[in-house]
Amino acid sequence: MTGRHAAPPSAPAGPGAIPPVQAADGLHPLLLRQLARLGLTADHPPEPGPDAGFGAQQWRELLTRISVAYTDADNDRYTLERSIDVSGCEMAELYEKLRTREAFTRAIVESAGDALITTDETGVLTSFNPAAERLFGWTADEACGQSSGVLLPDGERQRLEAIVGERLAGGTHAELSLELTARHRDGTRLYLLTSVSVWAADTGLFTTIVARDISAQKTFQERLRYQAGHDALTGLPNRARFHELLDAELARARGIGADIALLFCDLDRFKLINDSLGHDVGDAVLVNAADRFRAAIRPGDLVARLSGDEFVILCPGIMGTTEARLIGESIVAAFSVPFHLGEYDVVVSVSVGVVTSDTSASGEELLRKSDLAMYSAKRGGRARVHVYEADMVSTVTTRMEIENGLRAALRDGGLLLHYQPIVSTGDGVVRKVEALVRWDRPGHGVVLPATFLPVADEAGLAPAVDRWVLETACGEAASWPHDVTVSVNLSDRLLSQPGVVDLVTGVLERTGLRAQRLGIEVTEHLLGADMPQAVGALRQLQSLGVGVYLDDFGTEYSSLARLRQLDFDVLKIDRSFVMDLADPSSRIIVASVIRMARALGLETVAEGVDTQEQYDTLAELGCDAIQGYLLAEPLPADVLRGHLGRQGPAGHCPRAAPGNDHHRGKSTSGC
């Protein structure tokens, strides 16, 4: 009982279903029904007369029914003809519309920037727009009628057919986007981005392909892929590529039971070069450094640039740390020769950290360990090779804690300034005060700069510390008596930065401190490191009245010639000479320095004076001023203020116990 329902209207019980049927006896079914209604059959002609059952009335009714049937047929024909007529007109209108649309579509296709190609079910090209002509080098007339094989190589065509088959999955239509490699008429390979539409018919697949030439992009992508793995400046593999190579090499080495070594190489003080000589010189150094690395390694070793001034060398088949260390040392030696870069001769040393693969399984870990060893080499004085040892981890952890703590201190106000008076030997009056930075480190108490300034310097925090010191010291000094000068220690890095003059003048303006009351203490290193920008800035500041002090004189590769680079105002004799004053030779040196300084018009200050004997000797030698625990330790600002303007050793400056703070070292920025 599923029911027999109406045949769908699209397959009507219409013309096809209604043949011009004839009943078995040759009469139209309608006529047979009409006869039946009147009680007649075709086989029994009506006999007249009421008794025979067929009268004039029945005759009339039969004729009427037949007439109505004719009229109905006429009406049906009218309807039919009109329908054909009107739908014919409608179809003609639609055809016109379609023709217009087709012309419009053709215009779009012909003006399209993308190639448009169609093929019939046999794979023969059936349309080929002008963009296709330009792309493939065939004219439409030449292309149409040919197999699509003239455009797509066999392998590519089979690949396309496989993808299409999969996508159709028995359906009748599929659309897909894919990249295809095609062939220009001249044989050139073309990379195409295509949209492919496929219609499945009983006879085969009709295909439309819209194609865009991406050959240029492909080439570009390939270049990008190379670039993605290589450093553009030096041409060396970059970090990402190095990791791939390292992992592959590690796996290979493990497979044959061999070891590899990593040499982590970091150029020393490279940032300073960048800051002082500019990035062009910095880049030139990197390019030359890469060449030196290449020249120094063994055949089969690999050099990569990880970032900035960090390089790494991968040495396969290494026979233990000794061999690795030797390679490292040959690299350090290679960097002892200056780079000739235009007008500059730049000496850049390199610190090398070495690790061998017997210490770790993963490339990542090896790299980290070699990095630690490199840091150790830096801390050990640079320009050297350190081999990784297990305790390096804790050293670096400490360093990281210091760095993070220092950042927090800068942000949250954890830094302090202490002030150490400098007393004139003539009248015992304090006319100069050196500002010295301290860090109130949570859990550690007040920390001296020797602990944290090297880290600050390596982490690039030194300029921020300097700026804070400058701002704070000038602000404090502005409230002091007008004849007292404050001096601050500024890092080479800050002094090399462009805008440092504006920074200092800005601070002076804000705090209201006269330029004459500010001294800047620099070390000899600044002169040795060839930093013209810093020297220029100091000259400019001097012209404004700021004093420039040469700190720690005699500790570095002292060269009297360097004194000519700047007209220093004050020369501070390093504590090491003061400590040995009892030794006659030291005494002669100090005496000579004082005489020389006086001859050059420089004021002299002796540092680290802890005893009365030292004081007396220095006064006798003509030293202008004295700084040290004999007179006063570095003091908080409020304590200092009470003592300013008063007399020195005989006055009220507290006299600390000698040697109280001898361990406090001076960094490049002083303390």
């Binding site: 209207p9 699209s10 219409g14």
Partner: protein
């Protein structure tokens, strides 16, 4: 199973005594003029004569019954007569098949809810449902959907879908008055459902249209419910006038020659919608069923020959539908009852040849078949997509028999 027929007319009253009935096994079917709603005395008599028995029926735009015709020299031949009397009653008494009538008065409920409520009365052993509904104040589409939904919900596990057929009552005079009998006095707005149950029931269903599509497929660009304003962005009425030509003057009757073929949303089937009214001011056409905006429609046309032939096809399909089951049974039914529901639009289109489609239908059925039925405002039957729907323009035939 026994089938007896009697008629009622103003001049002669009842043509004979009321045949006996067996409550629970007898179905009394009455089809008659819509005017009886104002003068329901014979209907009341009929209901009173069959207490506790399933009495149902409705008004039509014409009612018909098979009446043998005398053939000279051959006794009598099968024949159908249209409107032989204002009321035709068929009394069917089954031996085993049980008959139950359910009446729903929509009241404030939606037609869909009424359909659902009717369907929810189904019992597990029911094997067929025949529905007669008012043709006015009931949305036949919604009613049918409600019935289909309700039957799906109450379908016992593992049971086949319950077949549904039937139609909407009609009126010959301006479509305004219809009545439905549902066991009681005739009601202007009601839905009657006859549930037949028992394995002995033999039923078959068939319907056919006889209309063919022509012209291009068109999109409904503006419509509201069953009112169509625009196709392809142009006034729908203008399109009809263009097709009708000289006969546009005869709208809306002449538009019956051009119903719309409507593609359902899923695209799986097409159903026919005939025109009920035109509105010159709004340039709109009102159809006997919803024409959703955005749907695709096609104009349809026919000839009287196609319509007559389709009626025969519908009957033939119904006979074929039941034949295999009957053949397998222990004993073929000795007689059949065919209930034909044909669209009022077919009658209007066929005009003088209306009886011919009834003859054609009868010719498609077994010779031992009694046929009755009416011209309707909508036919409920399976559509070609496999879902029961309300149709227009179809001849729908339900054949019932009882295995012996």
């Amino acid at each position: 199973m026994r089938t007896e027929m009697l008629t009622w007319s103003h001049e002669h009253g009842w043509s004979g005594p009321f045949p006996p009935a067996v409550p629970g096994h007898t179905l009394v079917l009455a089809f008659g003029e819509s005017a009886l709603v104002d003068d329901p005395a014979p209907l009341d008599e009929l209901v009173a004569a069959y207490p506790g028995t399933a009495v149902t029926g409705c008004s039509g735009a014409g009612q018909f019954a098979s009446v043998p015709r005398p053939v000279p020299g051959q006794g009598a031949a099968p024949g159908v007569r249209l409107d032989p009397a204002p009321l035709i009653v068929t009394v069917v008494t089954f031996d085993q098949v049980r008959v139950r009538i359910v009446a729903v008065r929509p009241g404030s409920r939606t037609s869909r809810q009424a359909g659902q409520e009717l369907a929810e009365q189904r019992r597990p052993d029911d094997t067929a449902l025949f529905v007669l509904s008012s043709g006015i104040n009931v949305n036949g589409d919604q009613l049918t959907e409600g019935i289909v939904d309700g039957l799906a919900r109450t379908r016992p596990a593992g049971a086949p879908a319950l077949p549904v057929s039937g139609g909407l009552a009609a009126g010959a005079d301006g479509f305004l008055r219809t009545w439905v009998l549902a066991g009681k006095a005739p009601l202007p707005t009601a839905v009657a459902g006859v549930f037949l149950s028992g394995d002995a029931l033999q039923a078959g269903y068939g319907s056919a249209v006889g209309w063919g599509i022509f012209g291009p497929a068109r999109r409904v660009t503006r419509s509201d419910g069953n009112v169509l304003y625009e196709v392809d962005g142009k006034p729908a009425l203008a399109l009809y006038k263009r097709y009708l030509g000289d006969r546009a003057a005869g709208l809306p009757a002449t538009a019956l020659l051009f119903p719309l073929g409507l593609h359902t949303e899923d695209g799986g089937e097409k159903i026919v919608r005939s025109i009920l009214a035109v509105d010159e001011a709004a340039q709109s056409l009102t159809f006997a069923g919803d024409i959703p905006q955005g749907s695709t429609v096609e104009l349809m046309r026919s000839t009287r020959d196609w319509l007559v032939d389709a009626a025969g096809t519908a009957a033939q399909n119904a006979a074929d539908d039941v034949a295999p089951a009957a053949g397998r049974g222990a004993g073929k039914p000795a007689e059949w009852l065919a209930i034909a529901v044909s669209c009022v639009a077919r009658r209007l289109a066929l005009g003088e040849r209306t009886e011919e489609e009834l003859d054609a239908a009868l010719e498609g059925l077994a010779s031992n078949t009694t046929m009755t039925g009416f011209y309707s405002f909508g036919e409920i039957a399976l559509a070609c997509g496999g879902r029961t729907r309300m149709h227009n323009q179809t001849m729908t035939v339900t054949v019932l028999g009882e295995r012996q």
